[in-house]
Amino acid sequence: MILTKKVPLLELIDLKVHFPVSGGSFLNRTTGTVRAVDGISLRIMPGQTLGLVGESGCGKSTLGRAVVGLAKPTSGAVVIRGKNVDNMTAAEKASERRRVQMIFQDPYASLNPRMTIGDIIGEPVMLHGLRSGKLAVQARVKELLELVELSPSYADRYPHEFSGGQRQRVGIARALACEPDLIVCDEPVSALDVSIQAQVMRLLMRLQKDLGLSYLFIAHGLGVVKQISDEIAVMYLGKLVEHGGRQVFQHPRHAYTRALVSAAPIPDPKIERQRRRIILTGDLPSPMNPPSGCRFQTRCPIAIDRCRTEPPPMHYAANNHGAACWRTDELDVLMPMAMKPVPMATMTAMPLASIPATPQQLTDIG
């Protein structure tokens, strides 16, 4: 009997994406390279969500774009369902592209202003022949609109008639129209108001459950990443510094993640008052000229000589929680987490499902 091993939906093997920076006016010589993604290995299994966190300049968006094919890898491999993208023919690439889709950050620039939302959503259905005949396509469009909680009667309307949150739903519907296996969500809620964010996050999570999708969820907000992810990875200056399950924010094993978690504000004044923040000094180094050894050493409060000379490898502990830090075992002593997690039972916040719909009604009643 042959045991079939579960094949990862997406695998990145030492992926590097470098951009040449050209200077000079006439000849356009290359004066430097931005090492946006500099050797990342990751894996996403079917039905799972990998959350990717990092601050600006860490390369997480570039990584997302490389996964869907918008950015060309300089070296390393992108393997989709066991097949290396480099080895695919043009036809294979085109059909695989359908199965890895993207949701963009800016809801105001990610929809063609001259197309109705029905056309926008129906285009992939038609292009890939997923339904035959105009009527079948239109019916599918209505299905998809309902799936993202928009009324099917909106199919004839144009993007400018909708709010940011609604446009983002249209973007989601467009991605779903391709019937993908994996959706790369590139900061999908960052441009939305807080209450709309919550609604869209809830939609994304419901869709994952109902359709068995995988997500690569890229964001800079720790809260939304934790909300939706099974695994969390932290990036800094093109490299992965930490990778593990949901406990990464609870008990970080890398100095940068500890600083990140301690800096992120928490909407609870009592907790905020007693937090001891780890304030990092200095600015982010340029991705054209990353520091030697560990990339974080220029800002790390506990860097030692070894950190400046030897880049630490990613080392996984028994619970599959890995960090690339020489001093990971000393962190509890040197950079203690200043707050204890509060177990769910004592939370007084309302569960997400009961978020009221119309703020208008709320301010009138109350």
Partner: protein, 269 residues
């Protein structure tokens, strides 16, 4: 209870549009006391920024009406443009979200800082230059003397924001208004900036108004808060009280909508 530093009664701001007028601010009243930090919280379109722009006289007179606006001993509602200009910068400082558009890109940082001293405090030459260097050191800009010659685009986002803060507090104003000062910054830089703001507040004894949509930032830095929606104040009170026991459904839903990364929650799948 001493008199409030800033007192606003029934402020309303009306904007003319293609299809009729909108009330961006509709009957807002609140006080600010010396040394305290007041947060104005709301989502986009709530009117939180427009409120303070109107109080500062940055929207002009048209469309702005109120029963009274008193600040730092002046009647801000009736003040002329000249008077407002003197008050802005000298007694009320303001920092905005995007330092790149608030700093003049063709003037050096040094020039923009010394300008503050020259215009408002009448200092000149060596005195204003020293003042500028001291300010930059205060907000944590390294190599202050050499950086005076630099232009805004030569600074990183966090550094530019520090320069903006330096300009705003140059004349040791009584009130500092910060309009989403850290929204465009990374979390670790944001922590640095908020730290600087708290430190300056303590050092100069300033009152601060922090406009933000980020409840975490508000929880960390504010004493009192106003929650705004559609131009009105929905709820106000001490930060501890509002977070622990929000009275209005909108406030409750706003608080519930912020996902927490520090809690051991079960994934709702």
């Amino acid at each position: 209870m001493t008199d409030p530093l800033l007192s606003i009664r029934n402020l309303a701001v009306r904007f003319r549009g293609e299809r009729g007028d909108t009330m961006a601010v509709d009957g807002v009243s609140f006080d600010l006391h010396a040394g305290e930090t007041l947060a104005i919280v709301g989502e986009s379109g709530s009117g939180k920024s427009v409120t303070m722009l109107a109080v500062m006289g940055l929207l002009g007179k048209a469309g702005v009406s109120a029963d009274s606006i008193f600040g730092c001993g002046h009647d801000l509602l009736k003040a002329s443009d000249v008077e407002m200009r003197a008050i802005r910068g000298r007694q009320i400082g303001m920092i905005f979200q995007d330092p790149m558009t608030s700093l003049n890109p063709v003037l050096t940082i040094g020039r923009q800082l010394t300008e503050m001293f020259e215009i408002h405090l009448g200092l000149s030459g060596a005195a204003s230059r020293k003042g500028a260097i001291d300010l930059l050191k205060l907000v944590g800009v390294p190599s202050a003397e050499t950086r005076l010659k630099d232009y805004p685009h030569q600074f990183s986002g966090g550094m530019r924001q520090r320069v903006m803060i330096a300009m705003a507090v140059a004349c040791k104003p009584q009130i500092l208004i910060a309009d989403e000062p850290t929204t465009a910054l990374d979390v670790t830089i944001q922590a640095q900036i908020l730290d600087i703001l708290s430190g300056l507040q303590r050092e100069f004894g300033m009152a601060m108004i922090m406009i933000s949509h980020d409840l975490g930032v508000v929880a960390g830095i504010a004493d009192r808060m106003l929650v705004m929606h559609s131009g009105r104040i929905v709820e106000q009170g001490l930060v501890d009280d509002v977070f622990a026991a929000p009275k209005m459904p909108y406030t409750r839903s706003l608080l519930a909508a912020v996902p927490r990364f520090d809690l051991e929650t079960e994934m709702t799948r």
